[in-house]
């Protein structure tokens, strides 16, 4: 029921109330809020147990039973609550933000579709169903990013998102096939128990399957090298960015990795062709790609001037964190820090995006931070909630981000000092660019007309902002960490002790480094940007700054590589089609028959004696055949 409510609302909206704007909005919001209430009640009722429910045998084939089934356990319950709560708040926000837009109804129904697909991923009980909803989410994302499709930038961005996503899905489906062929099942619970009993079942395919499935996460959660779609996806409306690209869809990749983490817990195994990979397991690859992505994104974010792009790269960076944690936690079997960070990130990133939307709305669709300024006096609610979100993102103690980030740092410290160092650097950079954003956008003199005339946003938007600010600060105060860890390690007992400064007691090195990074970033940003009216860094960093601003030219590189390659392949295929298929096949067959016909025609010489000769020869041949 939780699953189908948003779907019913979305479809209903499409077919029924296209003209009635408020009705559409209300209908969809009601749907999602109902799902939220149901999710919370499910969470309270079932706590930590796992339930399976299979309404539907879709396609019982020999050797593969495809079912549409739902699976509820700690992970999915938590995700359900997160997804539905953030979606409801974003929908409430959009009621005000999108008020002047002609595509109002379409927006809400597409959002409803998106929520449906996301919930499908969360509740899926086998890999195939998850893949189906995975693709659905990609489609919804395409529809939503390209919402203002009359703008070429927007439609290009939506295509880019979908295609990059598809590239990842290519690897994903091959990974799924490998897993199925080796173990005979796609159901998560069955897979987990089979691999638990018999770790060698996947054998030499383990790491390959892991890497391929990770490709799906790479596409969906925008890891290097498939990260290029996320910044461009900011062409969509801000609520879309908040919902999809901060809180939920991009988190689907991490969720999926946690679902199948047992594949990453297997020892390294590569097929013969890849044996040069030796002892490197899939988990290591995942960890390094995640770390690299987070570093890359953080560096690029330092020099971005569009408020939404800064937040986009911040999302990329945080996703890198999560993916890295999955890779690091896997051998031990406990990537719960990643899920924890996912939950906190969902709230504070959505908050940040919605706050950015509020700012953009107030400054009449101005997105360049160097044209804002002095907003803290004019938009106090937005300012304070944004500040809360920033503090959570940076990991200031007592905010939710601090606890989840600390768990990540602890996992990193326990498994790989190098990655720990990287993570700390990234934390410092995170604080730096976020402080830069706040200092430039909210403080300082008003740098443009729009900024000086800014006013606070309408009520629904503010309600959403404030409602999100509360969990951004406090959600970590719920015992989510142990809750999640118990999913992976049943019977985990947490240590007692003071909660607020718990991380300092638990693992002081990680906590101290994290805190130090925060202070470092903050002071750096203050030093550079307090009260400045233009960016001092390009002068200091020169060429690096230009590279950062141009996103390290990734898009250009891809264009230079991919387009000619694609052309080449297309040309080859065209040649094949023209010469082999059309030439030999379509025109060749009648041609051959014609030539044969022409040759045979010459036999008809009209000469009687030739005919009698052939007749006699035939008779001799037949006699020989019979008598030999």
């Amino acid at each position: 029921m939780v699953l189908f409510f948003p779907l019913i609302c979305s479809l209903g909206t499409w077919f029924l109330a296209r003209k009635e704007r408020n009705l559409t909005a209300g209908f969809n919001i009601a749907g999602v809020v109902t799902s939220f209430i149901l999710s919370v009640s499910l969470a309270c009722m079932y706590g930590g147990q796992a339930i399976d429910c299979t309404p539907f045998h879709w396609l019982p084939l020999d050797g593969l039973d495809l079912r549409i089934g739902l699976h509820l356990d700690r992970l999915s319950t938590l995700m359900l609550v997160v997804v539905t709560s953030v979606s409801s708040l974003v929908m409430v926000y959009s009621a005000a933000y999108m008020k002047d837009d002609p595509g109002y109804s379409r927006f809400f129904s597409t959002l409803g579709l998106f929520v449906f697909s996301m919930l499908g991923i969360v509740l899926a009980d086998n890999l195939l169903m998850m893949f189906i909803f995975w693709e659905l989410v990609g489609v919804s994302s395409y529809l939503l990013i390209g919402f203002w499709f009359e703008r070429p930038a927007a439609s290009d961005a939506s295509k880019k998102a979908f295609i990059t996503n598809r590239l990842g899905d290519f690897g994903f489906i091959i990974g799924i096939i490998i897993v199925w062929s080796a173990t005979g099942t796609l159901n998560f619970s069955e897979l987990a128990s089979k691999l638990h009993q018999n770790p060698a079942m996947l054998g030499h395919l383990a790491s390959l399957a892991g890497v391929l499935i990770f490709m799906g996460a790479m596409g969906k959660s925008a890891q290097f090298p498939l990260h290029v779609w996320l910044p461009d996806a900011m062409e969509g409306p801000t609520p879309v960015s908040a919902l999809i690209h901060a809180a939920t869809m991009v988190a689907a990749g991490v969720y999926m990795l946690c679902r199948v983490y047992f594949i990453y817990a297997l020892p390294a195994g590569w097929p013969a062709a890849f044996s040069f990979m030796g002892e490197i397991s899939a988990a290591t690859i995942v960890a390094w790609i995640g770390a690299f992505t987070s570093l890359l994104a953080a560096v690029i974010a330092i020099q971005q001037n569009d408020i939404k792009r800064i937040l986009a790269y911040s999302t990329l960076s945080q996703l890198g964190y999560m993916v890295m944690t999955v890779g690091l936690g896997a051998p031990v079997g406990n990537p719960s820090a990643a899920m924890y960070h996912l939950v906190t990130h969902a709230f504070f990133k959505a908050l940040l995006f919605l706050g950015a939307g509020s700012v953009i709305h107030a400054c009449h669709h101005e997105q360049d931070i160097w044209r804002m300024g002095g907003l803290w006096k004019k938009m106090p609610v937005t300012f304070w909630t944004f500040l809360i979100g920033t503090a959570a993102l940076a990991g200031v103690p007592s905010f939710s981000g601090f606890y989840s980030k600390d768990e990540i740092l602890v996992t990193a410290l326990e498994n790989s000092p190098v990655l720990f160092g990287l993570a700390v650097i990234v934390a410092g950079l995170t604080t730096f660019y976020m402080s830069r954003l706040v200092l430039v956008a909210f403080f300082g003199p008003a740098r443009s007309d729009h900024a000086s005339h800014a006013h606070e946003s309408p009520k629904p938007m503010l309600i959403a902002l404030v409602t999100l600010a509360v969990p951004s600060w406090f959600i970590a105060w719920l015992p989510l960490g142990p809750f999640l860890t118990r999913h992976f390690i049943p019977g985990f007992q947490e240590h007692g002790g003071d909660f607020l400064l718990g991380p300092f007691n638990h693992n002081p090195i990680a906590a101290l480094f994290g805190f130090g990074a925060v202070l470092f970033g903050l002071s750096g940003a203050w030093f550079c940007y307090a009260g400045s009216s233009s960016d001092p860094l390009p002068a200091k960093l020169g060429g690096w700054s230009r590279a950062m601003r141009n996103r390290f030219y990734f898009d250009e590189i891809y264009e230079a590589i991919v387009v000619p390659l694609h052309d080449l392949v297309a040309r080859m295929v065209d040649g094949f089609d023209r010469w082999v298929v059309s030439g030999l096949g379509v025109r060749g067959v009648p041609g051959a028959v014609e030539i044969a016909g022409r040759a045979l025609r010459l036999v008809q010489s009209g000469s009687l004696q030739t005919y009698s000769f052939l007749f006699a020869a035939g008779a001799v041949f037949a006699a020989w055949l019979v008598l030999r």
Partner: protein, 101 residues
Amino acid sequence: MNAGLNHYLVVSGLLFCLGLFGVLARRNLLIIYMSLELMLNAANLALVAFSRFNNNLNGQVIVFFVITVAAAEVAVGLALIVALYRKRQTAHVEDLASLKY
């Protein structure tokens, strides 16, 4: 020397080949027709020889039938040739090439 079965068969074969050569290599229709008759008679000879050396009258009975059929065939064939000559005014086989592509 004593004439055995083989001798008769060889003669019959030679006659047949002569007839075949005539059919294939002569240009006059009537000569071709005569060679055809020669081939038939060669077959008759072989049949009679078999009949004699196997002490079996079946061969000779077959010869009767063959001669009858040959006669009928000659009648029809000559009628055809006469009709053809009247139409084409030629008995040359090379001129009868209207089936040529």
